[in-house]
Amino acid sequence: MDRTSRSAVSPTAAAREGLRIDAPVALSLWAGLVHGWVAPDHFVAAALYGWFFVAVAVAQVGYGLLLLRWRHPAVLVAGVAGNVAVLGVYLLTRTRGIPLGPHAGKVEVAGVLDWSAAVAEVAVVLWLCSALEGRVKAAVVNGLLVLGLVAWGTRLAGLL
């Protein structure tokens, strides 16, 4: 609770506290590093995939660095949205198949490395949600609930 109340603080408060290398920062950096590590493999498959992984890696590493200093609610919400989007693509590629490009439709198999990045992203999302407060928090969490229901519903309907 104490950490939550300290997290959604103003930039000035964060600056007062100095740089904080805590769980969301480390997890975001880890997810970014994983995406960066596997990007060359994906350039072999198609430039589109390679650049996608580079973009995700840069975004996640950049976001981790951003969290070092700046934890404004808007930053936290953006982090939730970004990580959920990446998780959505991950879920799609491991169930329905790659959505775009020359390998569209090919279902990827989950491995240790990619799954560890997904775990990190889920943890970041949960942490960011817990750091939010008030109506913003309620809206974000309810949005995630809807997305979760959609995901499970489509699975039960055999669409995922």
Partner: protein
Amino acid sequence: MKAGLLGGAALMLPLERSAVSSLRNVNRLAESRLPAPFSVALSAPPLARPVLRTATTDLYELTLRKGRAEILPGMMTEVWGYEGIMPGPTIVARKGREVVVRVANRLEDSRHPHSSLHLHGNASAPQYDGYANDLLRPGWYKDYRYPMKQSARTMWYHDHGVHTTGRNAYMGCAAFFVTHDPQERALPLPRGRYDVPLVLRDAIFGEDGSLLFDEGNTDSLFGDVILVNGRPWPRMRVERRKYRFRFLNGGLSRSYRLSLSTGEAMTVIGTDGGLMPAPQQTASLLLGMAERYEVVIDFARYRVGQQIVLRNISPKNNPDQPTTNRIMRFDVVSDATDPSNNVVPDVLDPNNPVMRLQPSQANVTRSFRFERRNGMWTINGKVWDPKRIDARPEYGAVEIWEFVNKSGGWFHPIHMHLVDFRILDRNGARPRNYERGPKDTVYLGEGETVRVLTQFDQRGKYMMHCHNIVHEDHDMMTQFEVGSGGPDPITTAPPRRLTS
């Protein structure tokens, strides 16, 4: 809690496939429960019957669907196949008489998104070649038209749907397609019941008799049960005379080195593209995935009551199991009841056009490097992209294609669609004696360089790929386009929706 619902979906659903695959491998049937070798009789796939015959054309209708088969005694196994059987019905055709195969995909299963039918060994038009991205989805059908202009040969038809060929073929979507021509028919080679197609493959069975497929393995799939025409290590009753066997390796990843337990030589008379110029003797035969060899074994040299085992000495990088060193057994049961067509002539097909090609006719040499790169199966550093053309031979051109495998840990049977080729050399030396016939698939062993000579005489886009189907499904595939203006493989003759 609310947010965790999405997190759970994101983390659990991706693991579903891997978990199912791993669990199933845990439940594989123990070796002790496998049938004793040679305890079941060999069977032959049924012949397909045309539903319509005109003056020029035979029409066959095949339904791709699920079926159940007693592969292991006392157990029922779900198979996917043409007409719901594994192997599917054999089509026998004559040179010059058109064959149309109507394939209706009625295979409803979440693991089967699509199919595509490739007649392996045939110079099909691009739109009928089973182009990987020419998808035949459940509920659709397509007419594949084959003019049958080539010489007599042993071909096979099998699934070729992009990224799904492995499971489809493993579950049974493959069958023989044999053609004859007058020149071959004029030879006194064994025929009728003495002409026996044998498709070899391996498989893994679960405790419930199901075929286990490892979705999570992107390297290879090696089973512990060897099936011949869908029967585990069968026995075959033979007479004291010559038999013509048409060997096909229809498996995903396992290659074989075949030999007789007596150590005696077999006579190879045909390769992928039909009869060789002359027969060749060999005591062991390396059979890579998708390769076909026609072999005559003379059982007259054995006494009635003798049993001859067809053995397998696994080539490099094929994991051996205690059960994989034998294929089947021949039991000599009587003297010959039919002495006709019991000769292997010294000359078989001296005029095969591809075998008469000379390297001096080629003015282009292309090199293809098959390697694992950044964890992916690549050809010249690239993976399959249907929008990319990697070679553009001119129409009618004669070319030398060089296949290079720098790896010490992998072998790759390389299959060129459309063409027959002649193997010029293997690591600079002459090819093995039994490879000196027309081929469409060549065994590219560890660290080897193989050069082949061929002619491109049909316009359009065609694939070339590794026939380790696990590698193929993971994009070790490229395409070339012969000339320009050829029919598009996807849009020219698209599948149609089934009405009922």
